[in-house]
């Protein structure tokens, strides 16, 4: 007997959905460019650290602040460490912090947004005023204060970035929820006896999901920037190399006055490229998932 | 005198998957002051015909062939510049959703006066005077010109749309489902108004609708569209009392009639074809109860049944009949 919910059928369904999505997405030049950039950095973060040797140990004094050469493609820093290897190793922490913080803020934003939009009235008022507070607090000082209070560790950085970034998402999700909960299929779900949680999980969430997804990508760009900023300002975990940390050390040690451009520019360019990659994908997804914006 | 003559009009939409043949080989004729009903179900191409006539097609659509002559003037080849002058002054259109077609943040009168100022180059005072006169003509209290669309009821909004369409005294008005969203009583009022106006200002009217009764009520002639082509064409009374095409017959049979027997009519089986891949032969053959093998192979010719009554069906074709015999 044919079974619908077997693995094979779920797989067929997933494949069908993905191929439909890919069919539209691949028409989008911006989206493809963003995807290529991000795949490059993802690959760098995943396999890069196994290919380069970066000890973090101090090398010989003659190796300090060498300009780019065949041995050191991007030169060396003030401790004689290879900058190229630093960039490769740092990509892992930068991306990890960015993505983990994004997941946190999306989960908070989605829960608060859906709950506020679905229940409305008092719940909405309380949750939205709470959101407004997070929306208007200057996030950089808040992050700095929280990072200073909690101490510089990787987990704390992720937490601080995640907890400050959800407010915009919550607002967007709430307004979409408001419109979806008035659709007849939500009323139909109520008519068959579904509870609130069931409706939120099975009817509202799948329909706001494209929005959450498109928004996640844009939040990720901000999160990576935030990580760079925090690390640059010295609030990062000094034992783990990230692009922000590299910039921090380069600035502290006076790379500018030494004219050591090879130390400053590569991590900076990486941050810009990753942020650009996320933003491209974000806009592309917005266009693909929102048929109203889709060009004919 | 012939006002509008459409010959072999063909309009395609370009999609990624290919060409959608939304309107193929459509020919119509409209005398001065006459009303023509264009009926068809959803996706039969009736709106495409309307948009082609005033050349307001979406970007991915284009007229691929045929001719549209308004008073002998060819419109298919006319430049956009020229069309802009013709639109509203000579041909105007009443859209379906009056709420969407009116700008919610400007008063109704303002929007009509603007049309007059642009097209008839009237001064502010003249335009407002005309607007008030137009309101009276469509039976709305002229003192309400300064009100916003949301202050109007559904029927009044549709009347305002009509006022806007007739503002520049066009010779041809196209109504795209003008009464669809309205209640029966309001629909009847609006149809009666259209009828009155037509007699008063001698305008030609093309009424696009899915509702046979609307056509029966207001139109002299009717064209029944199916899958982008005209299945049957002729004087309304003749077509509705002696339908020649199987599709028209099925459509009329499906219309509930309180004078008739109290039983549910049979519906037409199946669905209209996808116009990306129209079926070969007669486009209706897959749903036709009387289809013959020939219908699957060859496109039917347009047969003249008697004066001004035409239908495209193999079953009516004497040549085909004699061949088979």
């Amino acid at each position: 007997m044919l079974q619908t919910q077997t693995r094979k059928d779920r797989f067929t369904l997933l494949k069908k959905n993905l191929s439909t999505f890919w069919g539209v997405y691949r028409e989008n030049t911006m989206g493809i460019a963003g995807l290529v950039i991000l795949l490059f950095f993802a690959l760098m973060a995943l396999v890069g650290p196994h290919l380069v040797t970066y000890t973090g140990e101090i090398e010989g004094a003659e190796m300090v602040l060498q300009p780019p050469s065949a041995a050191h493609w991007l030169g060396t820093d003030d401790l004689g460490r290879d900058v190229f290897a630093g960039v490769v190793v740092g990509s892992r922490i930068s991306l990890l912090v960015g993505l983990a913080a994004t997941v946190i803020s999306m989960v908070i934003g989605a829960i608060i947004g859906i709950a506020a939009g679905y229940y409305g009235k008092t719940v909405d008022t309380i949750l939205m005023r709470f959101t407004d507070i997070f929306l208007v607090i200057p996030w950089l000082p808040l992050m700095l204060v929280m990072a200073a209070l909690l101490g510089p560790s990787l987990g704390n950085i992720i937490f601080v970035i995640g907890i400050t970034g959800w407010a915009g998402t919550a607002r967007i999700i709430r307004s979409q929820t408001l419109s979806i909960k008035e659709r007849p299929y939500v009323e139909r779900a109520r008519a068959i006896g579904s509870g609130d949680l069931h409706i939120m999980v099975h009817h509202i969430l799948p329909n706001v999901f494209p929005l959450i997804f498109a928004n996640t990508i844009l939040v990720a760009a901000v999160a990576i920037l935030s990580e760079t900023t925090l690390s640059f300002l010295g609030m990062g975990d000094p034992t783990r190399m990230s692009w922000g940390m590299m910039l921090h050390f380069a600035f502290e040690m006076g790379a500018v006055s030494f004219g050591a451009w090879w130390w400053l520019i590569p991590p900076g360019v990486c941050v810009v490229l990753v942020v650009l990659g996320f933003t491209f994908i974000g806009y592309a997804l917005d266009e693909v998932l929102n048929p109203k914006l889709r060009r004919r | 005198m012939t006002l509008l003559e459409v010959n072999d009009l063909t309009t395609y939409y370009k999609l990624k998957e290919g060409r959608v043949r939304a309107c193929e080989g459509v020919s119509l004729r409209l005398e001065k002051g006459e009303a023509l009903g264009l009926v068809g179900e959803s996706a039969s191409g009736k709106t495409t015909v309307a948009l082609s006539l005033i050349k307001l097609l979406p970007e991915n659509a284009s007229i691929a062939g045929g001719s549209i002559k308004l008073d002998g003037k060819e419109l298919v080849t006319a430049a956009e510049e020229e069309m802009r002058k013709i639109r509203w002054k000579e041909i105007s259109i009443i859209f379906q959703g009056a709420m969407n077609a009116l700008n919610p943040v400007r008063t109704v009168g303002d929007q009509i006066a603007e049309t007059l100022k642009i097209h008839d180059k009237l001064t502010d005072r003249e335009a407002w005077q005309r607007t008030r006169a137009l309101f009276e003509k469509v039976e709305i209290d002229p003192d309400r010109v300064r009100e916003y669309p949301h202050e109007f009821s559904g029927g009044m909004r549709q009347r305002a749309m009509i006022a806007m369409a007739i503002a520049c005294n066009p010779r041809l008005v196209i109504g795209d489902e003008p009464t669809t969203a309205l209640d029966v009583m309001v629909q009847a009022q609006v149809l009666q108004l259209l009828q009155q106006l037509r007699e008063e200002i001698e305008m030609g009217l093309i009424l696009i609708t899915h509702d046979l009764s609307v056509v029966g009520e207001t139109c002299d002639k009717v064209a029944v569209m199916y899958a982008g082509q005209i299945a049957e064409y002729g004087p309304t009374e003749e077509v509705f009392t002696r339908p020649a095409h199987p599709y028209t017959r099925a459509l009329i049979a499906a219309f509930p009639d309180i004078e008739g027997e109290r039983a549910l009519a049979s519906s037409i089986p199946g669905n209209p074809p996808n116009l990306l891949y129209p079926p070969p032969g007669c486009r209706f053959h897959e749903r036709c109860s009387e289809a013959k093998p020939l219908c699957r192979e060859a496109q039917p010719r347009t047969i003249n049944i008697n004066n001004h009554h035409y239908a495209s069906c193999h079953l009516l074709d004497r040549q085909v009949k004699s061949c088979r015999a």
Binding site: M1, L2, Q3, T4, Q5, D9, L13, R183, P184, Y185, E187, R188, A189, A191, I192, G193, S194, G195, H198, H202, H203, P206, N207 | E41, S42, S153, G154, G155, M156, D183, V184, M185, V186, Q187, A188, Q192, H210, D211, S213, V214, V215, G216, E217, F240, T241, A250, L251, I252, A254, F255, P256, D257, I258, E259, R262, L264, S266, S267, I268, N271
Partner: protein, 329 residues
């Protein structure tokens, strides 16, 4: 006939939101009287049609019976029990037996649910199936009952891959899967093309004949009402003005409003619109309900009394009810 649903003086009033200033100065908040004292009975396996123009309160009545909109007054008895007194648990059980079909098959189906999960959802929500095989069996059966053959081929399709008629059948299957005794059908065919309407209506009537489902059929189309229903109730501004057997209401209408509506029932074969048959104006806003008989400002036969006293809704002829002063002589 045994009564399935009995509605007694049902009322649904909504408060209109007003500005802050208005409530500051103690102005009374206006109330929309969407449904204002509606009473009728629906027998087991009966099709009762609620007909009227937009704004007459027919949809709100249907939703209030299922408590999708909370009634503000009156009683709704389902098999003798008051629906308004149900607690959460009992309401859930009631909603397995009483279903609704919506007007727009494009909007009433979740675009991100497959055919299978749309129909299976009611079973899952109510924990009605022990095994997956049983669930599949019931989903397939419901789809077949709704006239969708080869149901298993449709399981993994999405609503947008179906035609309008198929979608409405899918929505009906979603209601049938729970074996309901009562269905509110809110304009089930008004968004569909004429050529496929009859098929859907036939399906609904067949289901009544086979399963004894009682329908509250809500429509603005009187000729459809006449075709499918046993009795017709005509609503105007939140009240029933006339109720009787389908033939009597359409062929021998008592109320002037019904007469006017019947006179403009569209038909392609003859012209029905004449100056005399048209009512003036449109249905007023249910915020400012006219005093006396609600219909008097538009009634061609209104007498001075109609402006003052509310007419009594009574049995004018056996089984034929109406509310009009002109019938009281």
């Amino acid at each position: 006939m045994q009564s399935l649903v009995s509605v007694d003086q049902l009322e649904v009033h909504f408060a209109v939101r007003t500005g802050f200033m208005q409530s500051m100065f103690g102005k009374e908040t206006p109330v929309v009287r969407a449904v204002d004292g509606v009473s009728f009975e629906l027998g087991k396996g009966e099709i009762l049609c609620l007909a009227g123009e937009s704004g007459s309160g027919k949809t709100t009545t249907g939703k209030a019976i299922l408590r999708l909109v909370e009634p503000t007054g009156g009683k709704v008895l389902y098999e003798g029990e008051d629906v308004r007194s149900y607690n959460r648990l009992r309401l859930r059980a009631f909603r397995q037996e009483a279903q609704i079909i919506f007007q727009d098959p494009y909007e009433s189906l979740n675009p991100r649910q497959t055919v299978f999960s749309t129909v299976a959802e009611p079973l899952e929500v109510n924990n009605l199936c022990r095994s997956l095989a049983e669930k599949e069996e019931r989903v397939a059966q419901a789809l077949v009952d709704a006239g969708l053959h080869n149901p298993r081929e449709l399981f993994l399709r999405y609503p947008h891959e179906l035609s309008g008629g198929q979608r409405q059948r899918l929505a009906i299957a979603g209601a049938l899967v729970l074996d309901p005794k009562f269905i509110v059908a809110d304009e089930p065919v008004s968004m569909l093309d004429l050529s496929i309407r009859a098929g859907i209506l036939k399906l609904m009537v067949d289901l009544r004949d086979k399963k004894g489902i009682g329908y509250l059929f809500i429509t603005h189309d009187l000729s459809l009402a006449w075709l499918v229903s046993d009795r017709i109730a005509i609503m105007y501004l939140g009240k029933i003005v006339e109720l009787g057997s389908a033939d009597k209401v359409i062929k021998e209408p008592l109320h002037p409003y019904t007469r006017a509506l019947v006179s403009v029932i569209p038909t392609p074969r003859r012209k029905v619109i004449t100056q005399q048959s048209l009512l003036k104006g449109e249905t007023p806003d249910p915020v400012n309900v006219p005093a006396g008989c609600r219909f008097h400002p538009r009634c061609p036969e209104a007498k001075p009394r109609c402006r003052e006293a509310v007419p009594l809704y009574r049995e004018v002829r056996p089984g034929h009810f109406a509310a009009c002063h002109l019938l009281d002589s």
